[in-house]
Amino acid sequence: MSLRHLLAVTRKEILHIFRDRMTLFLVFLAPALLLFIMAYALSVEIQHIPVAVLDYDRSAVSRSFIQQITAGEDLELHSQVNSIHEINNLLMRGEIKAALVIGPSFGRDLQAMRGIPIQIIIDGTEPQSGGFAMEHISRRAEEFINQSLSTQIEAMGGSSNSIRPIDLRVRTWYNPGLEPKVDLVPGLLSIVLGFPALSVALTISHEREHGTLEQLMATPISRPELLLGKMIPYILVGMVNAILLPVIAIMAFDIPFNGSFLLYFMLTCIFIFAVLSMGIIIGVFMPTQPAALALSFLLIFFPGFFLTGIFFPIAAMPEIVRMESLALPGTHYAIITRGTFLTGVGLDVLWPYGVMLFILGWVFVAIAALFFRKKLG
């Protein structure tokens, strides 16, 4: 391998990117832009969910119950309605996401400790707001009922302990509010850093599509030189983003960073190498750019979202899927971002994942080089 050859390929590739200002802009900023968009969507705090109330009781107790349910920013009282029919209409039109029906004997039943006739109706088609409304209404209802029950039990001579014999004290490490964005935004880094890999795949299949790969092969440049030379500019793109992305996460989305930045940066560079190698395999296998794009989705992005443990815990996956996820660079990188952003652990904990990424990267490069030789040899 000669450095001169390598740099010649790199220079050619850089010229390609710089020739067109829009390409330059998109290649460099796509990861940051996409992180920003996805992180924003994940960090929107669910609130102001419109709810209708149908109060058949109309007593002082039911009014204070409604007040307690709709206090705060989470739920918004859309309207008080007079019939189930109206609730149906509002749900159908999507104007409310949930409704609360209070039965006619609410106040009396609660006083007599006979149970409480309330019903929560939610829109089962809304991915987020329906479930959220249900959880909030039932939690507040439980609080309200417990309050009123314990005053009555105390009046009967019991103590408030008897109604709550177990006190569950919860302490959440690293993410006290259990906000999804705190771990999902660092997790998304592995997805958006896949975009430089998509670019690598596209430029290699670009050469094949245009028939210029044969010309390049006729030059003294060897195949590994060609592949690595094409990779280098995108390693640089990745490294710039490796610095830019945590800055966005920390500044714009309040994500904590508790570990060592240097460690994060080093391990991220190894991840970039591994994921770019995946891009090289794709570029070498696919004859056209649309085809390369297609395979990138199937190999990098879909599994990246679903199988790397960013959203769904790996422990809950079946054995076979768990084995498969080990072959994805994103799985190891998700542990690295969690470790450096949130738990703040050091190299002593994270080194196995760095080594795994390094091995995966070279395995991918080897596969690409082997196949490349066969295809054009």
Partner: protein, 377 residues
């Protein structure tokens, strides 16, 4: 007129011949779409199980054993009770090896059997995996509530039925079984359709430009309008076929109902497709190569996705973004898709969304048509 149709027809046939040699993208959109639907359907329909949890039982009493067995029976956890000290718990939490830890105090049994005691349970959660932590919290809370209720009843000398009416009854409309597949698959379907048209449309001109064949197409006697129509028809045909196949899959494999009028849904889908086609063609004409076009599609597609209510409810966004959502076609189309398929809504309920979609379709359609024609000439 007939001549025109014949000419457009010739163009359409040319495009389909291209597709035959470049079948990757349409094939992927079908396979990829099906795969994505299966993956997400599979991932969201499985209960979260097997989460690693440590239990430090300082009591080792009948009551604490009862609690541990009940925890095991939830099947949410993979319990390890062989811990002796807090240090192990802290170490494993820090290394991300466990999602939760439960500490049972030495006086657990004593407090619970006393007439008026309150036992403190401590739950430590690893917030660095928020989804697993949230599930662990819910499972433990539910269990503690159930155990506590049993003890309360015993203390007050009441029967189990006496307090049974205190849970609010819940009704989930339009999704009685609370199936997650009904939340997610229509949204995924919408996402796939959007990306299919965008990618496909984005390819049309950017590919010809990159290969240098656009000039030769422009010197033919075809008018720019004919070229646009000839290029658009295959995009619409293939994407619509794709949508129909995926809709059938969602309906038969995930039991997503189509309660409203199917012809109305298909008609509105076509209008939506024309609006997205317009956006795709504009991307195609402003990009000088396929690489750029693909990256632009990603950014536009993800921005749109934000406003579909899939990732975050639009009601919770700042007022300005709620306004923006009104001019995003996919925002209205998702409301229509959910409304017709899941709620069985008709025009009387959906007319605001339908009206908005039609207006947007007309505006985006004409503006983009003009823009692309001007660019071609």
């Amino acid at each position: 007129m007939w001549k025109r149709i014949a000419r457009v027809n010739a163009l359409v046939i040319k495009e389909f011949i291209h597709l035959r040699s470049d079948w990757w993208l349409p094939a992927f959109m079908l396979i990829g779409g099906a795969m994505e639907l299966l993956l997400i359907g599979w991932a969201t329909s499985r209960p979260i199980t097997n989460l690693p949890m440590l239990v430090l039982d300082q009591d080792r009493s009948p009551q604490s054993r009862k609690l541990i067995i009940a925890l095991e029976n939830t099947e949410t956890f993979n319990l390890d009770t062989q811990v002796e000290d807090m240090q192990t718990i802290h170490d494993r939490l820090e290394r991300g090896q466990i999602n939760a830890a439960l500490i049972i105090p030495p006086d657990f049994d004593q407090q619970l059997t006393a007439a008026d005691g309150q036992a403190a349970l401590q739950l430590l959660l690893n917030g660095a995996e928020s989804m697993a932590a949230t599930n662990a919290l819910r499972a433990t809370e539910g269990l503690v509530r159930e155990l506590g209720l049993g003890i309360t009843l015993k203390r007050l000398g009441m029967e189990a039925d006496d307090l049974s009416g205190f849970d609010p009854s819940l009704r989930v409309w339009f999704n009685e079984k609370l199936s997650e597949a009904l939340y997610t698959t229509p949204a995924e379907l919408g996402l796939m359709l959007e990306f299919t048209i965008l990618l496909f449309a984005a390819l049309t001109f950017s590919r010809e430009k990159e290969l240098g064949t656009l000039e030769s197409l422009l010197v033919t006697p075809f008018s720019s309008l004919e070229i646009i129509i000839g290029k658009s028809i295959p995009v619409i045909l293939v994407s619509f076929a794709d949508f129909l196949i995926l809709l059938a899959m969602v309906h038969f494999a995930f039991e997503v109902p189509i309660r409203g009028s199917l012809p109305l849904l298909l008609l509105l889908t076509l209008i939506y497709m024309l609006a997205v086609l317009g956006i795709g063609l504009v991307i195609s004409i402003i990009s000088s190569n396929q690489h750029q076009a693909f990256l632009l599609v990603m950014i536009v597609g993800f921005v749109d996705l934000m406003f579909t209510g899939y990732a975050a409810p639009v009601e919770s966004m700042p007022a300005f973004l709620q306004l923006v959502a009104q001019v995003v076609p996919s925002h209205h189309w998702m409301a229509i898709l959910r409304g017709i398929a899941l709620k069985g809504a008709d025009l009387s309920a959906l007319w605001p969304n339908v009206l908005a979609l039609v207006i947007l379709g007309l505006v985006i359609g004409t503006v983009s048509l003009r823009f692309v024609r001007r660019a071609l000439e």
